[in-house]
């Protein structure tokens, strides 16, 4: 983690209390709704029972009086959704599958070298949103994207834009590890070969080795580079997919629940890796695990039924969320 990065909140210092608190909040998920309130940090001394009836002015000054648990009332995303140092900017994004609208009017920036986590209940549109960022939704029949998505000021949905080039700049890691049925080496070399990144075999070997090292997989597979990638364990396969994605030196990496098919140890390795990768890459990660979002991300965006409810620094989201829906979700009232 680079301490010089100004867009990043001072995560290192605050990380452990944030973790503890969110874990405490989660432990209370089964308990009656407001039981967690006394355990909250000093920022919200007021009992939660009162907060449910009227807005918590002290804790969340920006909160509008129209805020409620009914998502239909939700109009504007609360929190810090914009950044001065934006890598990608999204304005008024609406996504439709046929007649069905999946994403409603989302505005958000993704800053350079930050890890942004997308959380929310199933079917809230976070994966759909992620897939609009590298236009993977183009492959879905009947999918339509409205609004403006820019990366470094360049419109991603402009007619003259080359999707192939875009996807080389915005890599993606999927929920289920999906290594190609080729050797480990060929898996990583796939992207560089397609994009002509290596002129010689030596260059290619170097790219493969570097990518595997960055994905902290090199030590485990260097003896068997030419064996099938599908023969690795689940966690290794996922790291292979990450190595494959970073082999083409993307600027942004999208991760769609990268750990949901993995065991806790493999998950820990991937999370460690995400932290290292954030020095060089901008990472957007969709996760179902709130602990994971709390552990790896700098900012957290909460989606609910296709709407972006709240974006805030991670520790704030998990300690004193601005929006009642976010709070309800992280305390386990739904999702």
């Amino acid at each position: 983690m680079s301490p010089t990065d100004t867009t990043k909140p001072a995560k290192v210092a605050k990380k452990s209390p944030a973790l503890k608190t969110s874990a405490a909040a989660l432990n209370k998920a089964a308990a009656p709704n407001k039981a967690a309130a006394p355990k909250k940090t000093a920022a919200s001394k007021k009992p939660k029972a009162a907060a449910a009836k009227k807005p918590r002015v002290m804790a969340a000054p920006k909160m509008s009086s129209s805020q409620s648990l009914d998502v239909d009332d939700h109009k504007v995303t609360v929190g810090k959704s914009f950044s001065d140092n934006a890598k990608m900017t999204m304005r008024n994004i609406n996504v439709f599958y046929g007649d069905k609208q999946a994403i409603y009017d989302v505005n958000i920036d993704i800053a350079k070298n930050e890890v942004i986590a997308m959380i929310g209940p199933s079917g809230c549109g976070k994966s759909t949103f992620l897939r609009t960022l590298n236009r993977m939704n183009d492959t879905v029949e009947g999918c339509r994207v409205e609004g403006e998505i820019c990366m470094d000021g360049e419109d991603l949905y402009a007619p003259k834009l080359d999707v192939v080039e875009l996807r080389a700049r915005v890599g993606m890691v999927f929920q289920k590890p999906n290594p190609f049925p080729k050797s480990i080496y060929e898996n990583v070399a796939y992207g560089p070969k397609i994009h002509g990144l290596a002129d010689t075999r030596v260059d290619l070997d170097e790219i493969v080795e570097n990518s595997l090292r960055k994905a902290s997989l090199w030590e485990e597979v260097k003896e068997r580079l030419h064996q099938p990638g599908t023969g690795l364990s689940g966690g290794q396969q996922q790291r292979l997919c990450i190595a494959r994605a970073i082999a083409v030196s993307p600027e942004v990496i999208l991760m769609d629940e990268p750990c949901s098919a993995l065991d806790p140890i493999a998950t820990a390795k991937i999370e460690e890796l995400i932290e290292e990768l954030s020095q060089n890459f901008t990472i957007a990660i969709v996760t179902h695990s709130m602990q994971q979002a709390a552990r790896v991300s700098h900012r957290t965006a909460y989606f609910h039924l296709g709407k972006l409810i709240e974006v805030n620094p991670t520790e704030q989201v998990f300690t004193m969320p601005e929006h009642q829906l976010t709070e309800a979700y992280i305390t386990g009232r739904f999702g």
């Binding site: 590298n134 993977m136 492959t139 029949e141 192939v164 080039e165 875009l166 996807r167 080389a168 890599g171 993606m172 999927f174 289920k176 999906n178 290594p179 190609f180 049925p181 080729k182 796939y190 992207g191 397609i194 994009h195 099938p228 599908t230 997919c241 494959r244 994605a245 083409v248």
Partner: protein
């Protein structure tokens, strides 16, 4: 009740032995159904005082099945055995006891005598004018047949009734009917699987024995490596032009040539149409195009033959002459080309299925790397689907090698040793047909050559399949 008696007599005896067997079979099935309901009913009766069928070890239908199997299976087995050996036993008994004046001296007279006696017994031959001893033999046969059919009926009835009672009496709340029935079912399935294997074995053996007979008159070396095929053998010593040379090389070269032309047409077209249908076509196009393509497989080969002989071959000849090429009016190109069209659906349909079966996550992975659609297809989808594609191609090759009608009509019958697809050639299957059609004596090398060709064709196809399996195993890229 005389009417019922005579009906029962007719039903059980039948007017012919096959009719009798059919009637007995129906009777046995009826008994089986009866046994099922009796066994089931008994299990229900046992279950009622115990507190419902949950107190039984197995479901009532299993007890029914158990009784039905005991009732029907042994009897069916006996019936089968009886029908198999009945006639030969009777025949040997009759012939063994004929009067000395008509006793057969060799196989030919044995068969003649047997036919005569059997025809007399069946009432096909008039009894008038036959010698005493033959009449006596036919009467003997007739009486043996009656005894046989009645004893069979009696035995079957006794056996199935005994089986029924045994199965029925075993029904008890703690009797494990389900495993017993499952075991029988498993063995039935095994028997069916064996049937297919034994049929193949039987075919191979019958072809093998005829071929060995052929190789007695024609050395195997001359057959496998001979360069001239002219199977006309002389009937009279002084006949000309009947050299009788049996070199199979021209036939196999012809077969390979026609098949190769067919594959050159079918593999690219079939594969690419499969890729289009699976990867690019919209749902609507796919819904109409796929069945339309499969119609090709439903056209009778004779119709393809017309098409090849009357449309394609003359067209190729005219086209060739406009370029200054001599194209035979019956050419391997015409036959192979039309055959290729015929087998397109084999390849496209199978390849389409395996390409569709490649997980979407593979495509997503490749597309997300910035690969284009065609790169994804070439580098990821096709390698992953390769085993299935090769399987489809192998099926198509077997079909091409075995195809006869198109070649007869469009490629000719001349066994020329050539690699030029513009000339007329002939194939192994066409020669087998010409060797075996019409009146043939079954001990001349000319006829037996057909079996040798069949054996060789079988061997070649088998080797091809083994080779293909090996290739698939070596190069397959397994997903998941």
């Amino acid at each position: 009740m005389p009417s019922l008696n005579s009906w029962a007599y007719l039903f059980l005896k039948g007017s012919t032995s096959s009719m009798q067997a059919t009637n007995l079979l129906i009777l046995l099935l009826g008994f089986g159904v009866l046994a099922f309901y009796l066994g089931r009913g008994r299990s229900l009766a046992i279950a009622a005082p115990l507190g419902g069928i949950r107190k039984l070890h197995s479901l009532p239908s299993y007890y029914g099945m158990h009784a039905a199997l005991w009732c029907a299976l042994p009897s069916l087995f006996l019936l089968g055995l009886w029908l198999m050996f009945d006639e030969s036993v009777i025949n040997s008994l009759v012939i063994g006891s004929v009067a000395a004046d008509i006793a057969p001296i060799d196989t030919a007279t044995y068969n003649l005598l047997l036919n005569k006696v059997a025809n007399l017994a069946d009432g096909i031959l008039p009894r008038k004018g036959q010698t005493e001893s033959i009449l006596a033999a036919s009467d003997h046969m007739q009486s043996l047949r009656v005894i046989s059919s009645w004893s069979l009926t009696a035995l079957l009835l006794a056996l199935s009734t005994a089986g029924l009672f045994w199965g029925w009496s075993k029904t008890a709340s703690d009797f494990r009917a389900r495993p017993a029935v499952e075991k029988v079912m498993q063995n039935l399935l095994l028997a069916c699987a064996c049937l297919a294997i034994f049929t193949t074995l039987g075919i191979v053996l019958s072809v093998l024995f005829e071929s060995i007979q052929f190789f007695r008159s024609v050395p195997i070396y001359d057959f496998v490596f001979g360069l001239e095929w002219s199977p006309q053998t002389a009937i009279r010593e002084d006949q000309v032009g009947s050299s009788g040379s049996f070199g199979a090389v021209p036939l196999f070269v012809g077969t390979l040539l026609v098949s190769a032309v067919a594959m050159v047409v079918a593999v690219p077209v079939g594969l690419m149409s499969a890729i289009y249908l699976a990867e690019y076509a919209s749902k609507n196009v796919r819904n109409y195009a796929k069945p339309a393509l499969e119609v090709l497989a439903g056209i009778p080969t004779v119709v393809y033959g017309f098409f090849a002989a009357l449309t394609v071959a003359p067209f190729l000849r005219d086209l060739g002459s406009s370029f200054g090429l001599t194209v035979s009016s019956e050419s391997a190109l015409a036959a192979g080309g039309v055959m290729g069209i015929m087998i397109i659906p084999f390849i496209s349909s199978l390849a389409d299925d395996v390409i569709t079966a490649v997980p979407q996550s593979m495509r997503d992975g490749s597309l997300a790397m910035g690969a284009t659609k065609s790169e994804t297809v070439r580098r990821v989808v096709i390698p992953a689907a390769l085993p299935g594609i090769v399987g489809g191609i192998m099926l198509a090759v077997s079909r091409a090698i075995g195809e006869t009608m198109i070649v007869v009509m469009a490629a000719g019958m001349a066994a020329k040793l050539t690699a030029n697809p513009l000339e007329s050639v002939t194939t192994v299957t066409v020669q087998i047909v010409t060797l075996l059609t019409g009146d043939q004596e079954f001990d001349s090398p000319k006829t037996l050559a057909a079996f040798a060709l069949g054996l060789m064709l079988f061997t070649v196809t088998l080797l091809l399949n083994i080779f293909a399996l090996h290739i698939v195993k070596k190069y397959r890229e397994q997903y998941e």
